[in-house]
Amino acid sequence: MILNILHRPDSPERAHLFELEQQYAHENGIRTTILLTPEALHDRDQVATALRHQSEFGDELGLSFHGLTHESIVDLVGYGQEALWLFSLDQKRAIVSALASRFREVIGTDPLSVASYHLDSSTMAIVRELMPSVVAAVAGCFEEGVRVFHGCNHSWYLFNEGMPWGPWYPSKSHTLRPARDEDDWCGIVAVPHLMRDMVLSYEGRNDFWASHPPNVMRGMGYEGEDCPYDRNLIDLFRWQEQFNDGYSYYNSFVSTAWLAEHHAIDDRPEVAQSLYRQQLEYLGKLKKEDSVNDMTMSEFATWFRSERRIGSSELYFAKELLYGSRKHYVWYLDPDQRLLIDATQSGSIGDLRPYTGAVPVATGPESEQLAVGSYPFLVQSQHRTGMQNHFQDGSRTTAILHCGGLELDLGTCPTRVGAVTRKADVTVATLEPVTASLAGTQLSITTAIEIRSGGRTRFRRTISWEGTIAEISLTERIKCAPGTTEYPERMDGVRGAIMKSIETTTDGDELAPAESSLDYGYRGRSLEAESVSAVRGEFPSVNTAVELAPADGQMWRGLVEEGHLYSPYLTLSLTRLISRDQESAVCLQLSSL
């Protein structure tokens, strides 16, 4: 596993904590990347320390776009802000330019790496233009958004949901979307700000459960001065190597403020310091065992360029660590989609980001999105109900079985991931068979989900049972709602359609598939047809069409359901009868409009 340890010196009053962090890293044989804030760049002592550590230990010196309340920034643009993403474009340009000059003046070189919790496409372009030396950037916080906004009492305006969990090649038009190819790439290798718990960051706040010991203290996931969770999370990331050609990446970025008295930690600073030291001791031990390879950010960018092709897929097999729930999720990502498979709901997709649509987003005061830099979703079961609560269910995929007038929603059938296989052209997650009772018959259901590039996901299921029942009705379904937050967004322009099978004329010529469609109007209408070739939804706000199509050569009945204001979704369903042990398959296909 490759490791980046990032430190951010800021206020001279906390210089001793910066030195303490550096000491912890060096004592354990780990080199760091020191990302200097404007405050630190104007503090002669901290600059001297950074330069000494650069020559003595091989640490890298870069620039942090945080702590922009320093008087040098106020003098430049008229006021200060905590972070770069909050300024207008002309102010960003002036600040980046001034910081580049200051860095060169006191460090003597140009920075190779920079850091910001959020680096939207317009700011990234400014960095590329004014700091061409930069090859690596901390450019986003995985799944930071709605939960953290709430959690900070609705005061933390940083929305970075829908991004890669590991290093990526940001596209030019949306930093959080992985680039398709060299032309689409912004030119900088990005890493996330911290590695996140891939279960708990989806289910709750990402800033409790991360590669950051004081964050875990914030979440109260420790006891006394002991936090085995910190080391469990490191090992779970190491364990991912088997799914990504032997590659895994980890970083930690604890700023000095977290080792001092902190408003979000109800404990002594010495405990935060101890837990951070313990984390680095464990990483140092892994380095000695050759299980971890520490690099600076720019070294990592070079490694990434040579070893990870633009357009590669990434997989994370997430296992729950803290509650002991034994829950499993599988995350998959490539330039066409990011999707989350929830084994506890028998393989429901709980989150789907249709990168195929390549929606351009720039944030900032003059942008339409303001601070919301998330890549929009088509399915998000945490923000949009998911499994039914009191009324209807919300956005998710599921399969529903009918027999003898009774219904079984596979979302209520918890199972675990039995195996994940990764091949060049296909990734397969096979779930452990789940047993359930329906109309007095014991069923055993096996689900396999196959994911291919091009935004294609195939659900294969086999249902076995004992007894006299000849056939069971199976419905495969996706319920979509485009958006970025938990509140519904206007469905203007959304269209649902049923595509009938291709008809052939008496001359053998193929006619275009017959189609019936409806334009979304919150009127609860539906379209239904026998033997369809696909059910389709079009979502202009994410520039994406979704098709659910038979993939087993069988006849499926199609249903498209428009929602209403109390259920603002578009639902696409396919239904057919299946017999015992017969395999069914449907394909979910994303494409741009």
């Binding site: 959690g151 996931g221 090992d235 109800d266």
Partner: protein
């Protein structure tokens, strides 16, 4: 008006925290109270509430060896 109300750093409201919201408790005459919800208590009650919050993290003191991740 008395100016005896002072924010207490590093003590978050346990009720708001259970909703995953960080709200600092305010302090008056030995009692802590929340401005976002109706919680109030003394320092021992706040600490006891934190201990109860931690209980749901059943693995908070459990080291899971690398070799056991496969079967986790």
């Amino acid at each position: 008006m008395s100016a005896a109300v002072e924010p207490v750093a590093r003590m978050r409201c346990p009720v708001c925290f259970s909703r995953e919201i960080d709200v600092l408790l305010l302090h008056r005459a030995g009692r802590y109270y929340c401005v976002k919800c109706s919680y109030q208590g003394d320092v021992n009650e706040v600490r006891a509430a934190y201990a109860r919050i931690r209980e749901k993290y059943k693995n908070r003191t459990t080291r899971i060896p690398f070799e056991q991740i496969e079967s986790l």
